[in-house]
Symmetry: C2
Subunit: 515 residues, 2 copies
């Protein structure tokens, strides 16, 4: 094969060409670490968020999960109290010659394979000197390591203004709104507060694609629990037999690393995971990402090492997804799962002077927090790479095998020919589908084969063709993206059949008469 | 009546107490001009946005409207080119004594009634001196007027970073993405690009409620049109007979002001509105805001005066809503409608060096832009005030008469008593409704009367009670918020009946047997 480009390159090329993702301000040369979702990508993003909301938030009855939507600009005091002003930093090293800046830990890890997370600037500088690590760009001697706060700062108000920050995570809003939510919803523990929204980090070196962005979107839940009930998650029985893939600390130290598969139930019983609330989310994430099109064997939960874990943590396990990168897979952290104990509410109570305890059966207590924090853009990136299908395997064009629930376009409508009333009939069907809520595209340009290829290229699961037979007997063909098979169904049943197909209530073969 | 508080105060009180809107970082004393939507408010916001998307974007077939979602942090060059760096400014005047800052134009308008928009800082200072206008706060002499840029600035990247801005409007993204959208969607003129998202303005004096925020949300469409077809809007016939309330420039000069009512069709024919594309949106906005619960006689479109209008404008008409404020109504601008001609694409083409013309029937041209720009938070504020119902008129509690399509909670479920299996049956129905996609609340606390009152207070249109009869014959009562009447329906039909009620496909009296 003469094809040398990576999956990443191919995915980014089709993303740009077909309206999935564009660099922000591309006509001005782009803006590193900030992306726009185009007409196709914004449907993918919307479907993913709605799927998450339906699976993790809106259908959760006991405990309930309340959705909020908060400010993205936060005052200094909040982020001072949360520790972000002092501790949300990266070590940076500049090359005095070529003026390039690098993450000091990355430079060291790339040069020595040494894992240096948690070391301070003096220690990092010493390692650079001892190993004679030089600029990866121009091979000059590097400057000393300095510390760089990752928050984007601004000033709000008249005159010189007051320092404020773009929030580095959505979570703080849920802690700030905890009391108002509890009182306004008359909520007792346990209950959750969820949010979907933007966060901002001034990353030193944003990478290709949607993996390390300066503006990114998170879907987060803070589940507030009475600590004595942490092993009484009311719905635990629903997921206790789900097998979770875990990379424990011991497993990480082995060569090669060893992943264990264990049920949620056993992981709690054996004290591998901290509690049922925590294990509940790991099980649900396993099911959800599989439904999003990530193969089960391509992700696992990694127990963070002690030096990666804050002092108040009762357990941190990241969901990590493997991306194909030739011989060595790239590992991307997609969800952070943290048992944060009483840290957040206790800390904000102390700094704000507000009583953030909750009256639970006559006793006042500070709720413990179990937090799953999902990256929207990273999830989309991984879905794009894992759903991508090379050309030449089963067809002569690239395509995306998006699961129906997130596919940005559900159905495309084609008139076989641009004559004899076919375009008019096709447009009428297309209009009806749009008004009925389908994300649909009408396409009459080029041969039917080219139109199927274009639909496959944006992962559209079903295409309907209006042909001469339609004009005779009011039936249309539906073509299945994955198998490229076709069935013929009466036009009057089309909406119902498409709904059942999209919700996977029927198999494609059951949808109509084979063509 | 001893009740002295304004509608605004009462609405803000219930918003805070019932989870509609909270000040951001309230436990730290709040953060002027930034608000969080609580568990109830975030559903109201979500419903409003979805209603807008369905009415203005997703069901539009010809011309199509493509949805994008872009970065909120934009590089300097973009906002320099758009004119925001130089011209997006407010005149500010400080009191040297009490250190309060004021919008200079507001201080002058309040003191003299004089309309001074568009005057420069020297002219404003002269007016303040000539009229001896003093500090509204402490009556000291004011300083000279200065000019203040309204964008929130930040620095992005390593070292000292590069200046960037939080976008002051969503619109720039659609101009930046114009070319990629056209090519990736194989689009010809006319087509629209829409976006829903946050924008930021460093307002000098944010006001109470959601009217003048520093962080706010917009719903915008940029409709790109070949200028020779501006009077051939393909769907114009659908809305041409909608009557629009217009406050023309002549009408504004009369005492009292005179609003005319005219069909969209006549407004174009008489050259009152610039073209069919423009009038199309004014008609649709009229229908949409009426469906959102704003009485038709409480809003009108005002033709901006020449000094309020940029030089490139082909017509600017703001949708303004009247809010009750005792004797003198407050007027709030909710939607800006602008015929921006070729300004935006021409300007970005010039500054970026990119060819932003489009090939239309063999001719290259710069598309003209018709832009309706909606404020989400302002719309919500006006809906809250206009749907608010005082206590004592038809019931002894306050309530919101939200239209079903935007009501944050659609149905509440009550067991009549906390015994004899009623809570279990009620919870089962509640769970089924949640899983079926309803925004529902379960409430078993206090008397049925109190529970109805609580449901009314957040504008929930329907309440279902599970009583002794339910246990006998599997029927439940549904109570209608507006009329407080009740019907009894079989439990098995409940989901279907609620859907029909919520979509206003049946009258309440048709829903079941009267109780």
């Amino acid at each position: 094969m003469s094809e040398k480009r990576s999956t990443l390159d191919k995915v980014m090329e089709v993303s740009l060409r077909r309206g999935l993702v564009f660099p922000t301000a591309e006509i001005y040369g782009g803006f590193a670490g900030v992306y726009d979702f185009g007409p196709i990508g914004s449907f993918l993003r919307e479907n993913l968020i709605n799927f998450w909301l339906n699976y993790f938030v809106k259908t959760e009855v006991d405990p309930p999960v309340y959705l909020v939507s908060g400010g993205t600009v936060l005052p200094f005091d909040v982020l001072k109290a949360s520790g972000h002003v002092d501790h949300f930093v990266d070590p940076v090293v500049e090359c005095p010659e070529c003026k390039t800046e690098f993450r000091a830990d990355h430079v060291i890890e790339d040069a020595t394979g040494q894992f240096v997370e948690g070391l301070d600037e003096q220690e990092l500088t010493r390692i650079i000197r001892e190993n004679n690590i030089r600029c990866p760009n121009c091979d000059s001697e590097l400057a000393d390591v300095t510390i760089f706060n990752l928050m984007l700062a601004t000033k709000v108000g008249g005159g010189k203004g007051k320092v404020a920050f773009l929030r580095p995570e959505t979570a703080q809003i849920m802690f700030l709104d905890f009391k108002r939510t509890a009182t306004s919803m008359r909520a007792k523990l346990p209950f959750g507060i969820a949010q979907v929204g933007s966060s901002y980090r001034n990353e030193i070196s944003p990478r290709k694609g949607l993996i390390r962005l300066r503006e990114f979107e998170q879907m987060e839940i803070e589940m507030f629990v009475d600590p004595v009930t942490l092993n009484d998650q009311p719905n635990f029985a629903e997921i206790e037999k789900v097998k979770i893939r875990l990379l424990t600390r011991e497993g990480q130290d082995k060569e090669p690393q060893e992943i264990i598969e264990i049920t949620a139930d056993e992981a709690v019983k054996q004290n591998i995971l901290p509690n049922q609330y925590f294990a509940y989310y790991l099980a649900k994430e396993t099911v959800w990402y599989t439904r999003c099109g990530i193969p089960r064997d391509k992700f696992r939960f990694r127990h963070m090492k002690p030096e990666e874990t804050p002092h108040y943590s009762g357990g941190n396990w990241d969901l990590e997804i493997e991306l194909p990168r030739g011989e060595k897979a790239q590992i991307v952290e997609i969800v952070g799962n943290a048992y944060r104990q009483a840290y957040d509410l206790g800390n904000h109570a102390k700094h704000s002077g507000e009583d953030l305890s909750i009256d639970q059966d006559g006793e006042k207590l500070i709720a413990h927090v179990v937090e799953p924090s999902f990256g929207v853009d990273r999830s989309i990136h991984c879905i794009l790479e894992h759903c991508f299908r090379e050309k030449g395997i089963d067809r002569d064009w690239i395509w995306f095998k998006f699961p129906n629930v997130i596919a940005p376009i559900s159905v495309e409508i084609f008139p076989l020919m641009r004559k004899d009333g076919m375009p008019e009939t096709a447009k009428q069907i297309y209009t009806t589908l749009k008004k009925a809520g389908f994300n649909a595209i009408y396409d009459q340009a080029g041969s039917i084969g080219r139109r199927y290829a274009r639909a496959d290229e944006i992962g559209c699961p079903y295409c309907c063709t209006i042909d001469y037979t339609t004009l005779d007997d009011n039936t249309v063909t539906i073509r299945d993206r994955d198998t490229m098979k076709q069935v013929r169904v009466p036009t009057i049943e089309l909406i119902d059949v498409l709904r059942q197909l999209l919700e996977e209530k029927i198999e494609f073969e059951e949808a109509g008469q084979p063509v």
